[in-house]
Symmetry: D2
Subunit: 147 residues, 4 copies
Amino acid sequence: MSSSREELKKKLMDIEDTAEVTVRFSDVDAGGIVHFRNYLIYLDDGFVHLINFFTCNAPFKDLVHREIFFPVRKVDIAYEHSAIFGDIIVVKSKIVHIGNTSFTFYHEMFRKENMQLLAKGNCVRLIVDGKQSKLLNILDFFSSCML
Amino acid sequence: MSSSREELKKKLMDIEDTAEVTVRFSDVDAGGIVHFRNYLIYLDDGFVHLINFFTCNAPFKDLVHREIFFPVRKVDIAYEHSAIFGDIIVVKSKIVHIGNTSFTFYHEMFRKENMQLLAKGNCVRLIVDGKQSKLLNILDFFSSCML
Amino acid sequence: MSSSREELKKKLMDIEDTAEVTVRFSDVDAGGIVHFRNYLIYLDDGFVHLINFFTCNAPFKDLVHREIFFPVRKVDIAYEHSAIFGDIIVVKSKIVHIGNTSFTFYHEMFRKENMQLLAKGNCVRLIVDGKQSKLLNILDFFSSCML
Amino acid sequence: MSSSREELKKKLMDIEDTAEVTVRFSDVDAGGIVHFRNYLIYLDDGFVHLINFFTCNAPFKDLVHREIFFPVRKVDIAYEHSAIFGDIIVVKSKIVHIGNTSFTFYHEMFRKENMQLLAKGNCVRLIVDGKQSKLLNILDFFSSCML
């Protein structure tokens, strides 16, 4: 791997992103707690926030409008405590592995009020060019879209 | 309007479709009742069921895969009683108006167990060819896709 | 109606609330536009924001945790333009009618970027005390919970 | 462990449940494929179906109405292929581990048309008595609620 690719990789893996999301009434189920599927939404918010932070010359939404997608290949979550309606959730996100055509995010979600850990987990994503229906190389993609 | 178009219009408006949908745990909110947005999902199920019934030579899903969409222009719903988790909802659907580029569905949703009316309302839809980004004429569309 | 109730009613109906919500990737459907059910979520965000603004001594979330709910009795929406992923939506909300046990909100949703009107509509809500399973009088409720 | 508890455990772990769910238009995202969070909904459908099959003298919905909840403690999913609108998904579910206060389900989801594996994963759940806010012992719960 060339040194510029090593540097890019290091730069990507050094990002420590923090996003916030507020729990909606409709996120909560009949048990009075956030339904477990919705943590995938919060984790998605963390992912978008991190990518937006990084690719400041092409906001994430423009990537999507150009049919660049980031489908999920694997996800695992451990639920520690329950969020309830009105909680502000702090989503901390890091890239912990970069392979050829997949990369892995580690997310932690905290209740902002007391920074209690609510959930944590990993999410493996691909980068797909929808127009050409092909997988993109992770570092190639970021070297072309970075400032 | 030619007589064949009149007949097609009558045929469309004579359909009385009945679909069923079961309330999921995740459809219910912290108040223990189905969140009001989810009735739009059930109404959508009724719509898809009716269209599937009618266009039997091109299932609805194939239309969507060909980028034919049915965006909603207006919707109104009156909520009469609350559905709860596990309820089976009977969705009755009828086309009550056919204009040039929009048509109106009337949906009633009942709790199957006692046929109590849960919600009722109208939904005005368009037909859009996504590839050409153009509105389709309603009767033209159905005359071309019917058996 | 006593003059203090008249004043409260006027005060409630003078509120012009503005909230913002960002369109998630998961809000968008296969047609590339926000699915019509999700405008009910944005409208719900506007409602919560308005109530939070008003009842500053009891945030909305505390009401819900005390089992005070605001079920929707009727909703109507006209969809004017389509929101897409990444849009910031400005939700403007007003109370336009206050009856004994129901009150009506009028919401307008704009794309922040160009203030294009995306959707507008009315939403009739009740106030329910879930513990006692009873409807509350609207003005009684707000006179007891206001600063 | 007494022999009747061993038998109950074996009986629970011998269940091989199969449920079906149809992909809605609103389950699909702007990439044209089912959004990854929705597989948690399908997995939830498999769970409810299995529990319903087993506890035939107390349908799952009655448990929920008595405030017995099954919160998720952990979930992991590997996504193999993408479901699209209109697909019928076959959800196969098994209990693969029973501890004191948690039990683990293994779910596989297939596209019915060609039985292609779409996703597979494990889900660890608890049983909570919401009225008493306490965790229930898994085998105690099932021995009391079985036929």
